[in-house]
C-alpha cells in the first residue's frame, strides 16, 4: 500500500540503557553450552519501557525542530508497559511538554507494535488530520529465568517524528506491506509474569513466513528487487534469523550488517528493527533506499521502504554513543535490575 500524500521521517531518536550482561555470564548461571548473542542490554533500576521511550522521543523531537505544540499524535508500541491499565502515552505527552490536544494511544503486537505505530501515525498525517506525529517502539523484554529467551531479551527504545513537511523530511515512506496470520508462536496471558513460546514454531511458520511474505509482498507491489535497496533491516530476535532472511530473499550481508544490533544489545522487541533503522539513518546518504521488515509474534510483519532526502546526515542520533557506553553487570545484579528476585525487602 501507499499513502496518498508523501509522509516521512523528520527526526529520530534512540535509547539503549548503559548496562550489559554477557551471554557467557547467562551460560555460566544455567550451565548452557552456547550463547545466542555476545551481550545484551539491561535496564537500570529506575528504567522501564516508559522512561526509555521518553529519551528516544525527546531526541526525535529535537532533531526534527518541530514545535512541541504542533505534534498531533503520540503512538507508543510496547509489550512491556509499566501498567496493565493506564497509558504510557499520556505520561510521555505530559513529560515531553506536548499539547493536550493530541491523539495518544498505547499499542501492542509483540515486537511489531513500533512499526505499526509508525504506519498509523503516517496515515493520520497523510489524511491531513494532523501535521506531525510521534511513533515509538519501546521494550524492557521479559524472559523467565533459565528460558532460552533470557539470552536475548534486551531493553531499548526508538522514536520517529513523522511529518509531511518536505523541508524537514530526512527520509520519505515509499511503500508499505503488512502481513498477518493467527500463529501461536509466543504469548503471555493476563496476570502472567513471563511469556511462553513454542520453539518449533518460532522459525519457519512464525518469523520466516511473515518476514518473507511482507518483504516479497512489498517488492512485488513496487517491482523493486533486493539490489535496489542500499540497506535492509529485519526484526532481530537473534543474529541468525535476520541473516538467513536476507539470504533467502537475495540480499547481501553488506546490506544487513549496519542495521544488525542484536549481538550487542540483544532483542529489544518493539524497538529492535527501529533501532536498526536509526543506526542506518545515521550513516545513510541522500537518495538511498532502505527496507525495514519488523516481526511480531502472534504473528505479523510490516515491510516499509524509505528513500532518504537531501536533508539526511545533517544531524545524527545518539545511537553510536549509546552502543559504546557500557557497564557490565553479573547475573546477580542483572536479576535485581530485571526485578526477578523473590521476597526482596521493600
Amino acid at each position: 500500500m501507499k499513502f496518498s500524500t508523501i509522509v516521512g521521517i523528520a527526526g529520530y531518536g534512540a535509547y539503549v540503557p548503559v548496562y550489559r550482561i554477557r551471554g557467557s555470564e547467562i551460560s555460566r548461571m544455567w550451565g548452557a553450552e552456547e550463547e545466542t548473542v555476545e551481550e545484551k542490554s539491561v535496564p537500570g533500576l529506575d528504567e522501564d519501557s516508559l522512561t526509555m521511550a521518553y529519551e528516544a522521543a525527546r531526541e526525535a523531537l529535537q532533531m526534527s525542530r518541530v514545535k512541541r505544540e504542533d505534534v498531533g499524535a503520540i503512538l507508543v508500541g510496547s509489550e512491556s508497559p509499566p501498567y496493565a491499565v493506564k497509558p504510557t502515552a499520556t505520561v510521555l505527552a505530559e513529560a515531553l511538554g506536548l499539547s493536550q490536544k493530541i491523539v495518544a494511544i498505547d499499542m501492542e503486537f509483540a515486537c511489531k507494535a513500533g512499526t505499526t505505530a509508525m504506519l498509523l501515525a503516517a496515515g493520520l498525517i497523510a489524511s491531513g488530520a494532523i501535521k506531525h506525529g510521534l511513533a515509538i517502539g519501546t521494550d524492557n523484554a521479559q524472559a523467565r529465568p533459565g528460558d532460552e529467551l533470557e539470552f536475548t531479551a534486551g531493553a531499548g527504545a526508538a522514536a520517529f517524528l513523522l511529518s509531511r513537511d518536505s523541508e524537514r523530511m530526512l527520509a520519505s515512506i515509499e511503500n508499505v506491506f503488512s502481513y498477518v496470520t493467527d500463529t501461536p508462536d509466543f504469548w503471555r496471558r493476563e496476570g502472567e509474569e513471563f511469556p511462553r513460546h513454542t520453539f518449533r514454531f518460532t522459525g519457519s511458520p512464525a518469523y520466516f513466513h511473515h518476514v518473507l511474505s511482507a518483504a516479497k509482498g512489498l517488492m512485488e507491489e513496487t517491482g523493486l528487487k533486493p539490489n535496489d535497496f542500499d540497506y535492509v533491516i529485519f526484526h532481530q530476535p537473534n543474529v541468525k534469523f535476520p541473516l538467513r532472511a536476507a539470504q533467502l530473499l537475495g540480499f547481501k550481508v553488506d546490506q544487513v550488517k549496519p542495521g544488525l544490533l542484536c549481538n550487542e544489545i540483544g532483542n529489544t522487541y518493539a524497538a529492535a528493527s527501529l533501532l536498526g533503522l536509526a543506526r542506518v539513518l545515521d550513516i545513510a546518504k541522500p537518495n538511498q533506499r532502505i527496507l525495514v521488515v519488523s516481526f511480531g509474534s502472534g504473528a505479523g510483519s510490516d515491510a516499509i521502504s524509505f528513500i532518504t532526502t537531501e536533508n539526511i546526515g545533517v544531524s545524527k542520533s545518539s545511537i553510536e554513543k549509546l552502543l559504546a557506553r557500557k557497564v557490565y553487570v553479573d547475573y546477580a545484579l542483572y536479576s535485581k535490575h530485571k526485578g526477578t528476585l523473590k521476597g526482596v525487602l521493600r
Binding site: G44, L45, D46, E47, D48, P82, Y83, V344, L345
Partner: protein
C-alpha cells in the same frame, strides 16, 4: 520534599517533576527551580516561566544508605544539588553512577526516570534525575 504515599500529590507535582520548569525573576534576574510565584532571593512577585537547561554540574551531594519507603533496594544512591547552566539549582537524584564516582563539579545531564512505586499495585512516580554526561 515530602514523600507521602498520595496519588493527588503525584498528580499535582507532575509538571514540576517531569520537566525542568523553572522561573526567572523579572527584578533580580535569579533563575529558580521549580517555578514559584515569588522570588526566593528578592521577594519580587513576577517570575517568567522558563524551561531550564538540561546540563549542569554537581555542587554538593549526599549518599543515601538508609532510604525512606519506596526507595528501599535502590541504596546506596546519591542525592545532589545540581547547578544548571542557567544558574538554577535543582535538588535531585543522580543515576547510572556509583556513589564513589561522584565528585563536586561532576558534569551531569537531565534524564527521565522512575522515582518510586507506591507498592506493587500503586501508582508509579516518574521525574527528572541527572546522570554523568
Amino acid at each position: 520534599m515530602v514523600w507521602a504515599e498520595s496519588v493527588p500529590r503525584v498528580w499535582r507535582e507532575r509538571v514540576k517533576k517531569y520537566r525542568l520548569l523553572g522561573g526567572k525573576c523579572l527584578k533580580c534576574g535569579s533563575v529558580v527551580y521549580p517555578y514559584r510565584p515569588a522570588c526566593p532571593y528578592c521577594g519580587h512577585e513576577e517570575l517568567q516561566p522558563l524551561e531550564l537547561s538540561r546540563r549542569g554540574r554537581v555542587i554538593n551531594f549526599t549518599i543515601i544508605r538508609h532510604p525512606p519507603t519506596g526507595f528501599v533496594g535502590k541504596e546506596p544512591y546519591v542525592v545532589a544539588i545540581v547547578e544548571l547552566e542557567d544558574g538554577a539549582r535543582v535538588l535531585a537524584q543522580l543515576t547510572d553512577v556509583k556513589p564513589e564516582d561522584v565528585k563536586i563539579g561532576l558534569e551531569v545531564e537531565a534524564v527521565f526516570r522512575k522515582y518510586r512505586e507506591q507498592a506493587s499495585n500503586g501508582v508509579i512516580e516518574y521525574g527528572i534525575k541527572f546522570r554523568p554526561v
